[in-house]
């Protein structure tokens, strides 16, 4: 069974600094997708970045980038030049295609609460 582990329940970072959130997962699949979602106090779930497992190049979206280590099953999120608006809960998620049912299975980590300090 797939699992997603976020080992840092809470983190803080000074404004304008860089922070890295950790995520590890366990799977025997070769093809899958990984995502980071952000949940600010408004409760919305916002997609931050996605990574396809077959791509070696790490995904980047503006100040957000990932370090995808497929062999180590690690998918960390780096936030550069942290801003107060980055304060949120961050969830790592794993997705794969279930061939027997034709559906897609998503597994979420328990989240890391990030606070950006002024």
């Amino acid at each position: 069974a797939q699992t997603v582990t976020q080992s840092q329940p809470e983190m803080s970072v000074q404004e304008a600094e860089t922070v890295t959130l950790s995520c590890t997962y366990d799977t025997s699949e070769n093809n899958y997708y990984l995502f980071w979602y952000k949940q600010p106090p408004s409760r919305q779930m916002i997609l931050v970045i996605r990574q396809e497992a077959y791509k070696q190049q790490n995904a980047t979206e503006n100040r957000f980038s990932v370090n995808f280590q497929k062999a180590a099953k690690s998918f960390s999120l780096k936030i550069s030049d942290s801003q107060l608006g980055d304060t949120a809960m961050y969830f790592c998620a794993f997705m794969k295609h279930v061939w027997t049912s034709g559906t897609y299975k998503y597994i979420f980590g328990t989240g890391t609460r990030l606070k950006v300090l002024a």
Binding site: F35, Q44, M45, L47, M95, T103, Y104, Y106, F108, T110
Partner: protein, 111 residues
């Protein structure tokens, strides 16, 4: 933003009463999901749908049922609400191998 509307946004009810939450999408996406979010547990899948009248259970389906009679609507029903079902409920939609997009959530309190 993906067109997903959850209703109601907030609800307070009593133990033993039936409760129905609605998820409505305007994206014509095939897959729809219901999750609950609780502190320390992240998001846990309750039920999902892969087409009209096609649904299946997730990891925490006990005490919940779902229905999808139209592509755009996915209903979650608590047949007889219990205090352990107090939670924030999220609906999500997706298409093929795309990431899920979420509604704004429903905060449900069962007294």
């Amino acid at each position: 933003d993906a067109g997903i509307t959850q209703s109601p946004r907030h609800k307070v009810t009593e133990t033993g009463t039936p409760v129905t939450l609605r998820c409505h999408q305007t994206e014509n996406h095939r897959y729809m999901y219901w999750y609950r979010q609780d502190p320390g547990h992240g998001l846990r899948l309750i039920h999902y749908s892969y087409g009209v009248k096609d649904t299946d259970k997730g990891e925490v389906s006990d005490g919940y049922s779902v229905s999808r009679s139209k592509t755009e609507d996915f209903l979650l029903t608590l047949e007889s609400a219990t205090s352990s079902q107090t939670s924030v409920y999220f609906c999500a939609i997706s298409e093929t191998n795309q990431p899920q997009h979420f509604g704004d959530g429903t905060r449900l309190s069962i007294l």
